[in-house]
Each structure stands twice: as structure tokens, then as C-alpha cells.
């Protein structure tokens, strides 16, 4: 073993206190430094943090951004989301292959550049897009690919790539990215002028229980999509036994088509951190964790700086705002490329340095969460709403939207529309009105809530965005008349197949089967029975899966079957010759024929 590797890994582990629960930080650092986490490295890490080597490998093999095999100094991750495909991904992908002379999943022979696909990186409104190490590159075209590769080959340092800077904080020297915010519609809650720290001041003038009551009176529900009442979650956690408590902010925005938290994290981090601090005060937590998806690593330095500024202003730290005994601070936990970690208990597993498997419930995080302590997990947008509720009052907030659905909702809208971007609408807006605003007058279908939500057709455009009707964490994708909805459903199923954690049978295997049946139909070999099979299989996955991801994973199939039955019916046909349409006799005979050096005399055609 090289002395160098040994010394550096020891140092990395030591900087993380040789703490097993900080495995994510350790393996991320090793990956970044050496381009891989090798067998040697895993053995060393295990020794340093006193765990089994297989546990380290279990983690490394789980996350897409970590690898045992060596990767190039430059890793190009091209986003292959459905929207990118709609915006010309194919040509861009071909150009990357041509320029680098390698295929996806490969590294150039000199070991310098690796080319990969990655699911949605939160840039759907400026796709096709890619992440090159930590640099985000948007609006890719074949010409741009040529330029980028030529540029990279000069220095092999993606941070030196030349590009035009985006608006707002994207141009900040700590971010320095070409991403633009794309705020299309401002509303009264999030994209509004707010008085910094007024909410926190008001909260600290109340008792923690009063703060919880304020959030309950505002009837704030979780913005991640599930819509659980935030005040109730806080109340359970406050009441739970256990010394230490935690606030975790879920910034693992991974639902394909969602990018609204990206904008909040870029422009409104103070509002978010203020909300986390208020939540900490309310439930009696001294520690907050921001779980940031690896794809948003380009925002990390800015977020760290804002946290430091808040510490300097005594908005974090000890006796915040002079409130004796109220101590609270926030750390950032980076993810490493796993959609499942947006599921709250999987997110906790990841924070604990484990594979991103969801946990068994009960116990719920409110009783036993991070490191077994009572924990609140809230979405980025939810915590921003908290700040505004404490600033303006519960009554003000409850006035917006509708009684069961108070406040506004940020929607990330992209796809076949003229004005993709982030929109803040009051709850209860009709799909029709939304489509008008985004410039989509001929939508064949709209995906509400990402692939784990619903794909609806024009018959449903008079329905509303709300928890009781069309619930959404924020993803809206518009599909024009020329799109093949079965193909779209198949692409979303491919996403779920890749992103299943593999823990439970229905999600691990069932989704592979759904994708197989869709492919059969797409190649013209589908039979009417296949549609029944899709329905039954989808239902079993829904009923028996272990977590929210599995339970919603068949939705692209089930909702298109329900809302676009004619498309499916037109693609399947009854078999009349008694043969299995997927069986290819020529292919089945090929091996035998090649060995025998002659063709079958019975099956000549």
C-alpha cells in the first residue's frame, strides 16, 4: 500500500473524528481526492472508524457519485431526464461520445475524463444540462460540447471552464455558475419582500409551544409533496422523550422535473436558515442539518458563507438574539447521488453514514430519527413558509390559498411550454390557468408531482393543484401533442428501476417488470393481456412496497393507463397465430445453426 494513500486517508478520517456516522463525509473526501474508493482505501477507512470493511463497501456501492473503480479527474455527468431528451439530449450525447471517443460509462484511455449519465440534476428549465465535477453547464448543444471538450483538454480543470454567469447569486464568486434562476412568477409568501429576522424575533418572544401553535393555526402542510401538517410533526417531536433533538432540512430535491429548491437555496438561504432556527427553538433542538444533494454541491460554498455570517451576527450559536439558553447551529450534510435519500428515513440513514435505505416504521422520526433521537424533517420550502408565518402571523398565511391548503406553492414547470421556470401560485390554481401562464396551449398531457405523481390529460385540466386534488412537491412537466406517452412512461420507469434502493422485493423487481412490459408494447409485440398484467403488477407494487418511493413508483404506468387508455389499446393486438410475439425463432436457432454450419430445415423463414 502506498504510504501516501495511507497517510491521507488517515488524515481524512481523523478530520471527521474517526466517526463511523460520518462515513458519507469520509468516502466523499476519499473519492474526491483519489477518484475512487479502492479496496485498500476501504480496508483503511474501516480500520480508522472501527467498522467492518464490508460496511464501507456497502455505502460506496450504494451512491452513484462514489465508486470502487477509478474514474477520471474530470467526470462529465450528462443529465438524461425525460425533459433533457425532449430538448435534444440525443445529439448532445452523441457529440460527447464523438469528441471523447468513448461511450457512456467509460473513461478515456489516458484515465483523465469519465463520461456518465445521471438522472435529473434540477436544471430542467435550462436543459440539456450536465455536471462536470461540480460545475453545472446548461443549454448544451453540439457546438457547446465541442467547445467544452476542447477547453477541458487544455487544463483538465472544470472550474476553469469559461461560461457566461447566471443572474443573482449565480454570479456570486462563490457560486460562479451559468445557471439562471428562472423565477417567472412571484407570490406573496416565498418570492416576496420580507423583513429579515423579524420572524425569528417574533418566535423568540413567544414560548416554543406558542410557536408550534402559530404554525398549526396557519395550517402549514409539508411542501415536499406528502402534505403532513408541519405543526403536528413539531408537536410530536417536542413531546417525544430523548435528550437531544434534531431539525433536518431535506434539500435532496431529486424528483425528476423539480428545481424550485435550487432557486431558494441560491437566493433565499437566509429565509431557510431562519426557518430552521425557528423550528429548532420550537421543538427544543440545538442542531440542524441541511441535507444537500450532491448535484447542488456548486451552492455549498455560498451556503457555508451565509451560515458563517449568521454565526457572526449571533443568529446562530449560543444565546441567539440574546435569548438565554437558546443555542442552535446548522451543519451541511452532502449527499452522493441517490434519489431515494429524499425519502425522509432514507435521508436519516444517509446522514448516519449508512446505505440510503429507508427505515422500518414505526418508530417514526419524531420518536426515533437521526442517531435514534427525535427528529423533524422538513422540506426547504416548508421551512421558508415558517419564517414568513412567524413574521406575518398565522392569520395572514391562512388567508392565502384555500382552507385545507393554505399559502402558496412553488412549481417548477418545464417541458413543452414557452416559459419554463419557477412559479409561485396560491394553492387551488386550476391546471388550465397554470398552462396559460406558462405558454402551453396544446398540451397533450401534464405530469403533476413528478413521476411519483400523476400524468393527466385534457379532461383533468379543470382540476386544481392542492393536497386534496392534484398534490405535488413542485414538479410539473408539460407534454406537447407529438410526444409518445407510453415512451414517456417507460423512461420514467427506467428512472425508478435505477433509483430503487433494492431493499424490498416489489420495488426492486416489480419496476423492472413494468419496464419490460412497456418495452414489449413499444416494440409492437404487446398483447391485450399485457395491459392487465401492468395493472395487477402496478397494484401489487403500490400495496406492498416499503416506502413512499416504492408505493408511488408504478404511477407513470398506472396514471397513463387510466388517462390515456386509447393510446395503449392502439398499441396492443390480439395474437391469432398462437405464437408468442416476443419469441424470435431465428434468434433462438442462431447458436445451434452456427455450430451445425447449416440452417434449420423446418424453420426456414
Amino acid at each position: 500500500m502506498s504510504e501516501n494513500l495511507q497517510a491521507e486517508i488517515k488524515e481524512i478520517c481523523q478530520s471527521c473524528g474517526n466517526d463511523r456516522t460520518r462515513m458519507m463525509d469520509i468516502v466523499r473526501a476519499v473519492q474526491q481526492r483519489f477518484g475512487r474508493v479502492s479496496d485498500e482505501a476501504m480496508n483503511l477507512i474501516a480500520k480508522c472508524v472501527n467498522c467492518h470493511r464490508a460496511e464501507v463497501e456497502g455505502v460506496v456501492s450504494f451512491y452513484a457519485f462514489l465508486s470502487k473503480k477509478p474514474k477520471g479527474n474530470v467526470v462529465i455527468r450528462l443529465c438524461n431526464d425525460v425533459i433533457d431528451k425532449m430538448q435534444g439530449l440525443d445529439a448532445v450525447a452523441q457529440e460527447f461520445k464523438k469528441q471523447l471517443n468513448i461511450d457512456f460509462g467509460q473513461t478515456t484511455p489516458d484515465g483523465k475524463i469519465t463520461l456518465e449519465y445521471t438522472p435529473c440534476i434540477g436544471m430542467c428549465d435550462q436543459s440539456p444540462a450536465a455536471i462536470i465535477n461540480d460545475e453545472v453547464i446548461t443549454y448544451l448543444s453540439t457546438d457547446k460540447v465541442k467547445e467544452i471538450i476542447a477547453d477541458i483538454k487544455k487544463h483538465y480543470d472544470p472550474s476553469k471552464l469559461k461560461h457566461r454567469l447566471g443572474d443573482g447569486n449565480n454570479a456570486n464568486e462563490l457560486v460562479h455558475s451559468c445557471v439562471h434562476n428562472g423565477i417567472r412568477k412571484k407570490g406573496p409568501v416565498i418570492f416576496a419582500n420580507y423583513k429579515h429576522e423579524a420572524g425569528l424575533k417574533n418566535a423568540l418572544a413567544m414560548s416554543p409551544v406558542e410557536v408550534i401553535n402559530e404554525v398549526k393555526t396557519a395550517r402549514l402542510r409539508g411542501r415536499g409533496g406528502a402534505g403532513f401538517p408541519a405543526g403536528m410533526k413539531w408537536q410530536f417531536t417536542r413531546a417525544a422523550e430523548g435528550g437531544k433533538k434534531f431539525i433536518v432540512c431535506n434539500a435532496d430535491e431529486g424528483e425528476p422535473g423539480t428545481f424550485k429548491d435550487r432557486v431558494i437555496l441560491t437566493e433565499l438561504a437566509d429565509m431557510l436558515f431562519e426557518g430552521m432556527t425557528i423550528a429548532g427553538y420550537a421543538i427544543g433542538a440545538e442542531n440542524g442539518i441541511l441535507y444537500l444533494r450532491a448535484e447542488y454541491n456548486y451552492l455549498r460554498k455560498l451556503l457555508e458563507k451565509i451560515l458563517q455570517e449568521r454565526r457572526d451576527k449571533n443568529l446562530l450559536g449560543k444565546n441567539i438574539f440574546g435569548k438565554k439558553g437558546f443555542n442552535f447551529d446548522i451543519t451541511i450534510q452532502m449527499g452522493a447521488g441517490a434519489y431515494i435519500c429524499g425519502e425522509e428515513t432514507a435521508l436519516i440513514s444517509s446522514c448516519e453514514g449508512l446505505r440510503g435505505d429507508p427505515k422500518t416504521r414505526p418508530p417514526f422520526p419524531a420518536q426515533k430519527g437521526y442517531l435514534g433521537c427525535p427528529t423533524v424533517i422538513n422540506n426547504v420550502e416548508t421551512l421558508c413558509c415558517v419564517t414568513r408565518i412567524l413574521e406575518m402571523g398565522a392569520a395572514w398565511f391562512a388567508e392565502i390559498g384555500s382552507p385545507g391548503n393554505t399559502g402558496t406553492k412553488l412549481l417548477s414547470i418545464a417541458g413543452d411550454c414557452k416559459l419554463p421556470g419557477v412559479y409561485e401560485f396560491p394553492f387551488g390554481i386550476k391546471v388550465n390557468d397554470m398552462l396559460k401562464d406558462v405558454g402551453a396551449d396544446d398540451a397533450q398531457a401534464v405530469l403533476i408531482g413528478g413521476p411519483s405523481g400523476q400524468i393527466i390529460g385534457p379532461n383533468d385540466y379543470n382540476r386544481t393543484i392542492s393536497y386534496d386534488d392534484l398534490a405535488t412537491g413542485g414538479a410539473v412537466v408539460v407534454f406537447g401533442p407529438e410526444r409518445d406517452m407510453i415512451e414517456i412512461a417507460a423512461q420514467y420507469m427506467e428512472f425508478f428501476v435505477e433509483e430503487s434502493c433494492g431493499y424490498c422485493t416489489p420495488c426492486r423487481v416489480g419496476n423492472v417488470l413494468l419496464k419490460k412490459y412497456l418495452d414489449k408494447i413499444l416494440t409492437g409485440k404487446g398483447e391485450p393481456e399485457d395491459l392487465d398484467m401492468l395493472k395487477q403488477l402496478g397494484e401489487s407494487i403500490k400495496i406492498t412496497s416499503r416506502c413512499g418511493m416504492g408505493q408511488t413508483s408504478p404511477n407513470p404506468v398506472l396514471t397513463t393507463l387510466k388517462n390515456f387508455p386509447k393510446i395503449y389499446d392502439s398499441k396492443v393486438k390480439k395474437v391469432t397465430d398462437g405464437l408468442q410475439p416476443t419469441f424470435d425463432i431465428r434468434k433462438a436457432l442462431a447458436d445451434a445453426e452456427s455450430i451445425a454450419h447449416r440452417n434449420s430445415v423446418i424453420f426456414t423463414k
Binding site: 463497501e57 441517490a338 446505505r355 414505526p362 433494492g502 424490498c504 422485493t505 417488470l513 395487477q536 401489487s540
Partner: protein, 235 residues
Amino acid sequence: MSDQITFTIDDIEVKGKAGQTILQAADEAGIYIPRLCYHPELAPHGSCRVCTVLVNGKPQTACTQPITEGITVENDTEELKEHRRNLIDMFFIEGNHFCMFCEKSGNCELQAVAYRLGILSPKYPYLFPKKDVDSTHPDIFLDLNRCILCGRCVEASRDVDGKGVFEFAGRSIEKKIMVNADKYLKDTNLAVTDKAADVCPVGTINKKRTAFAVPIGKRLYDKKPIGSEIEERKK
């Protein structure tokens, strides 16, 4: 105060103790809920999902769900049996299970549950994956073709043997069991007397030189269906 909890499974009144799961209480009462990954001496894993029941109408796994007073549990319904058959079919097509020449046949819980649920062959297309076989260990061989990822060996080695010989690697359909070594089972400290060598429900972890000590036809589930031992407890 009594810690007895009364609830119903398929309209039959069951009395359990506080802290028990639905599966534990059902087992004691002599009601069989089909299951695969669950092992009474290990923490419930909740991965196979075969023991899914409806608790007050909501799907839950019986092995992880604690009992509470007055709940209504549905278990032996046509709908749930169909879901269970679908899950069992998934196991058969995601691996390479050839019962006719598997030394575990007759003692295999997957095979036994499949028969009990009336499965003769899976309805889904086989995936025919390429899986590893590791026979490097002097006393034990590992055949991942038959693994159902139940986690019993992982837990037994970690929690009972205190060794951590087995762990999960990868995710999605690529998820698999790996050993705590650079490559081979022989390089781990697994012993044939370990709990981990004893808990595999299928033919993945096998003790060498014992395969046909009991002949086919005289094995555990050759005599009576799986679950009979539980149902015999019924008064």
C-alpha cells in the same frame, strides 16, 4: 394494568402482549401469516413484504407492525394472496432457481411458501441474471443465484456472531450480498458453527458435505406444508 391486547385477524379474536408484532401474536395464536425474510431470533427486516396484511384497511407488514388494542387485521384474503403470489413470482424470476437440482429442495422456505400459495411456475418472464458462486471456504459455499436478499445472514453475523461477515452491496436490481473481504468467503472469519451459516431460508448459504444427509421426500416441507407447525398451536 394488564398488558394484554385484544384484536382480530380475519374476524378471529386474538390476544397478544404489549410490544408484540402482529406476526408474533398471530404465531402464538396459531394463525399462519405467510412470510419469508422474518426469522424469530433476528430483528425483523421487512424486505420480502410477503407478510403484508391490512391493518384497519391499511397495508402493513405483520413482522414490523406492533399490535394495538382493537385493530382489525385482514390476512387470508384473495386479494392479499394474489399480492403475495406476485411477490413470490418476483423472487423466482429475479434469481436462478432450479428446484429440481437444488440441495435445499424440500427444506427451502421460498419453495415451500410458493407451494402453499399454489404457485407451480412464475407468470413473469425470467431475467436470467449472472450471479456469483463462491466455494472457496472449506466448510460453506455461497450460491447467489438463489439469494432473496432477506438479510438474515447479515443480521445474524453482525448481531449474533459479532462478526459482520455479510453485508449488502449495490442497489436496485443489482443489489447483492457480499462478504467482508476483498473478494472471497475463505478470507472472512465465518465458521460453520456461526448463526449466519444456519439461517438462510433458501439455498444460498450451504454447508458442504451435508447436502443429501436427509433424502428428498423426507425433508421438512415434504411432509407437510410450511406454516403447519404454527397452525398446530391453535387450540
